[in-house]
């Protein structure tokens, strides 16, 4: 399952493990990891990774330090494209992929009709400790939403805060121009299920 039907992430980062490595390190720039930790977290082998990590280091995207006989890598924040590349990863493969996967069963059953990330993660203004705010519109139960999203939070290394609205509650909140909902509507979003048009129509009052 990809973030979007035409997954830009797939198109831009055709090598499976390159994008996993870049997501892991660039989306957590505070982390410095041993090669074998990177291998474990990205589901690859250390042998395959060594060459790839060395190339990414030579390209100026990763920092490399040798500690004893172990080599550790982290994102190179001084890279001139660090900000832009992290932003692309976040919006394509990093955050969205993990959350889309977590919500797959709820999308299939129809329990969630629309889902998107809002707040600091969607605005790219997050700090290493920021939570991920996820809006869910549908009939999903709050406790079920927590259960589905919890493993994604572990993967992302961040707490996930689901906001659950039924369609009727969402329409009502939009009609009442609730400040919170207006702010959410006005700010950047990363769609997980649905798109701007569907969100717009979900907010409209039923004509009949």
């Amino acid at each position: 399952m990809k973030a979007t039907p035409e997954s830009a992430g797939d198109l831009l980062f055709p090598g499976g493990y390159r994008r996993r490595v870049l997501s892991l390190l660039l989306l957590h720039p505070d982390r410095t990891l041993h090669v074998r930790e990177i291998a474990r977290l990205t589901g690859t082998t250390a042998g395959t990774l060594n060459k790839e990590l060395a190339r990414l280091h030579r390209a100026g995207l990763l920092e490399r330090e040798a500690v004893g006989n172990q080599v550790r890598y982290s994102a190179d924040r001084e890279s001139p494209i660090f900000g832009e590349l992290s932003s692309i990863l976040r919006k394509t493969v990093g955050l969205a992929d993990v959350l889309v996967d977590a919500l797959a069963s709820a999308e299939k059953s129809g329990a969630v009709e629309l889902a998107f990330v809002f707040g600091s993660m969607a605005r790219s203004t997050e700090s290493p400790r920021s939570d991920v705010d996820v809006m869910l519109i549908g009939n999903i139960d709050f406790a079920e939403a927590v259960r589905l999203l919890y493993p994604a939070g572990v993967t992302l290394g961040r707490e996930i805060n689901p906001k659950v609205y039924t369609k009727a509650q969402w329409r009502k909140a939009v009609a009442a121009k609730e400040p919170f909902v207006r702010e959410v509507l006005a700010q950047p979003k990363i769609y997980l299920i649905g798109n701007d048009d569907e969100l717009e129509s979900a907010g409209r009052q039923r004509s009949r």
Binding site: R147, I160, N161, Q169, A173, P179
Partner: protein, 145 residues
């Protein structure tokens, strides 16, 4: 980490008090009743249901001979997280309660609104926890219940 191991780093040891436990349980019941009040905002009802959860977590700690060090930041987190040890609540339920706690912080400090479905979820969790903690006490701490 056991409750005892947290003494000094989040918890204080106390003598369990039947009076305090009963008072907290009664207060939690009143908060749940308040959460059902019609005509008040979703945020107020949510806050009441959340307070009931926190009081139940405190009651369970007291029954085990502990209380949170309320001067420390994160004492709500500590009381809720320890429900697995203090009253045998499942880890899954604790995750839901912690998510409600974070929602409550957003509501109190950022003015976020609370969707009605979340108010209902919080009330349901408070009611379930009341049942669970009361049953646990009757069984494990009969002298206190």
């Amino acid at each position: 980490m056991s409750l005892k191991a947290q003494v000094g780093s989040g918890l204080d040891e106390i003598t369990p008090s039947r009076v305090t436990v009963e008072r907290l349980l009664a207060a939690a019941r009143r908060q749940i009743a308040d959460a059902r009040t019609k005509g008040v905002s979703a945020e107020t009802r949510f806050s009441a249901a959340y307070t009931a959860i926190r009081m139940l977590a405190d009651a369970a700690l007291n029954a085990n001979g502990y209380r949170t060090q309320s001067s420390r930041t994160g004492h709500h987190y500590t009381a809720i997280q320890n429900l697995t040890l203090s009253a045998g609540v499942t880890v899954e339920t604790v995750r839901v309660l912690q998510t409600l706690r974070r929602q409550r912080n957003e509501t109190e400090y950022s003015g976020d609104s609370v969707p009605e479905s979340t108010v209902q979820a919080c009330m349901l969790q408070a009611e379930e926890l009341l049942k669970h903690v009361t049953a646990w006490m009757a069984k494990a701490r009969p002298k206190l219940s």
